[in-house]
Symmetry: C2
Subunit: 357 residues, 2 copies
């Protein structure tokens, strides 16, 4: 069976142009792609890239009249948009007409739709979105949630830690990934009330929990995983981005100050470009939504065409190696074990009360 990746052509700050450009690049590498979006626009874009796209590449189009903007107001509003490219793409995944979905659109909308349409893995209360960040010594640290989970109960963060543990183990081969909990101090008593509760849970868990980690140490490689809620994760990620941007802006200002420094910074400029791209998650490609039954890859809204291409290739690889199936089996078994080990009645109560949206 041919593996086809669904791509939300209308999602992202520079959609559909950048998305289509990324799709062409992935198709050139032999990936079969189904584009979801406004047909006429997509046909003309594809033709402008390559007039013979129909015969040369395995690209098909499913017409979707609506687009969910990056500014859509509420989840309730989003769910009314059943003719949108995201909705139809995810519905195709649910019906197994495609093997995975890639979107650079409104992540709240994708997260919400994927959670409700595709279904969560049994036992998972909140699917989560993570990404690998670089560390200064060449390693990587997997941070989650960076998605839409802004109001988290302690059990959600505990589950994020378990999902991240399985993900990092399988992806990197690290046997016992070190799990850190993002807090406002390394001491166990530091944190919001939720974080303090999570600390206790992780301390009593089977995970390799190394304690609280402070935000100033995220790039120091002290842990393989950093767990946080989606609101705090967003602040962390975007502060890092914003700081790198500010540093490069200050350097540019200083360079204007004298001929000598302009000359010197001109020569070393390549380095700063490299550093900036190292911290820029728009280049990363895409992040797998953990905890839903089928592969959904969410790319950054300001993705470049290379990032879209990478996200598609990543989704393709995930499908080919049947990664999601294996991952989800382990997650399901782990959640079962954890909820049995925990105060069973509490856990069941929380789960039954817990509607994903």
């Amino acid at each position: 069976m041919m593996v086809t990746i669904a791509v939300d052509a209308m999602g992202g700050d520079n959609a559909p142009d950048v998305v289509v450009s990324g799709v062409i690049k992935a198709a050139q590498k032999g990936v079969s792609i189904c584009l979801f979006g406004q047909e006429q626009r997509l046909v003309s874009l594809l033709s402008s890239f390559d007039l013979e796209w129909k015969t040369k590449y395995a690209i098909t189009i499913v017409h979707c009249p609506d687009v969910i903007g990056m500014e859509e107001i509420s989840v309730r509003h989003i769910f009314k948009q059943k003719m949108s490219s995201v909705y139809i793409a995810i519905d195709h995944l649910k019906q197994k007409k495609v093997a995975a979905v890639v979107s650079a659109g409104n992540s709240t909308a994708i997260h919400a739709m994927a959670t409700c349409i595709i279904e969560r893995v049994a036992g998972v209360l909140r699917p989560a979105l993570g990404t690998f960040l670089p560390t200064v010594y060449g390693g990587r640290v997997y941070c989650l949630d960076l998605g839409a989970n802004t109001d988290c109960k302690p059990i959600y963060l505990e589950q994020f830690a378990y999902m991240a543990d399985i993900y990092v183990r399988e992806l990197t081969g690290i046997l016992r990934p070190r799990v850190g909990l993002l807090s406002n101090g390394h001491e166990p008593y530091k944190g919001s009330s939720v974080v303090k509760d999570v600390f206790k849970r992780l301390k009593n868990s089977s995970l390799n929990f190394v304690g609280n980690i402070e935000a100033r140490d995220i790039f120091q490689g002290h842990t393989d995983i950093i767990v946080c809620d989606g609101f705090v994760g967003n602040i962390m990620l975007k502060t890092a981005q914003g700081t790198v941007k500010a540093v490069t802006q200050i350097i540019a200002q200083e360079a204007k100050a004298s001929y000598l420094s302009r000359f010197l910074l001109g020569i070393t400029g390549g380095l700063f470009k490299k550093i900036k791209s190292r911290f820029d998650y728009a280049n990363v490609g895409g992040a797998l939504l953990l905890g839903v039954k089928e592969p959904v890859v969410i790319a950054h809204g300001s993705s470049t065409s290379e990032a879209i291409e990478n996200a598609i290739l990543f989704a393709h690889e995930v499908v080919l190696c049947q990664y999601i199936k294996k991952f989800n089996q382990t997650v399901q078994a782990t959640m079962q074990k954890v909820s049995i080990a925990l105060d069973a009645s509490n856990s069941i109560h929380a789960q039954s009360q817990d509607h994903p949206l």
Copy 2:
């Protein structure tokens, strides 16, 4: 009357050495200082700096046998330490034996003690700690809370915004400071449930509220004030610090790669030192705790002696210009106005239920 500044000699990562060194510098500029800490140790330290300190400078010592460590477990535990340098210093302030307190110690302890011993300004639910951060175009942005308020109700953040507005107006002369609310997206519907509620409150307030601000824009000078809870503020501040540190580490690594780049970076190295210090809040000096009746200046735990000196000079200036009195009068009047304008019954209910710890 001679204005005397109380300095907690035992607070901070490098106490008492660095603190005493900072105290000598401030005393050389004519400030009268009362040191709180272990007398014998302080006498020998002062003597090692200057044998004639007793006659040359207006430095006195109040012996305090106990020290509150940076690792103290809980607020309850902290309050048992009535023989600690922080407790006794703040108690002296309460009794008006000194005019202000400066400490680089455990900020949770100082915050808690100041709130309970000195009392809050009428109407203020939670005192808050803010600091000015640099922006790329030479301006500054005042962020609060960066202190111990980790679990905030919407009304706390609303009050932080009002206090910051008054503080920034008086300190900078900006007539209508632009107030931003830190969130995970600029759209009004983005944020945790608390942040969304605060958005509505600030939108309906008399403040110059410019909406949500994303963490990637904190250094871009879009606002004069950024409001957040203490947990998120800590993550933001320390991520910025950690990112600058990571960037300089990567630059150092790259410099090792070749003679040429080592040479070039050697010449431009001063610039990176400058950038690092611009983002390093350990150099800032101290932050005034807003919302308590007397001036308490909290310096960073890893303060240098210059930072301690600056914090003392700042506290001294605050006392001389009677700043706290004026500030607190305006805060009190504003809180009264706000709580009348707001749903009065709700507000009174929240306030009466609200114990500071």
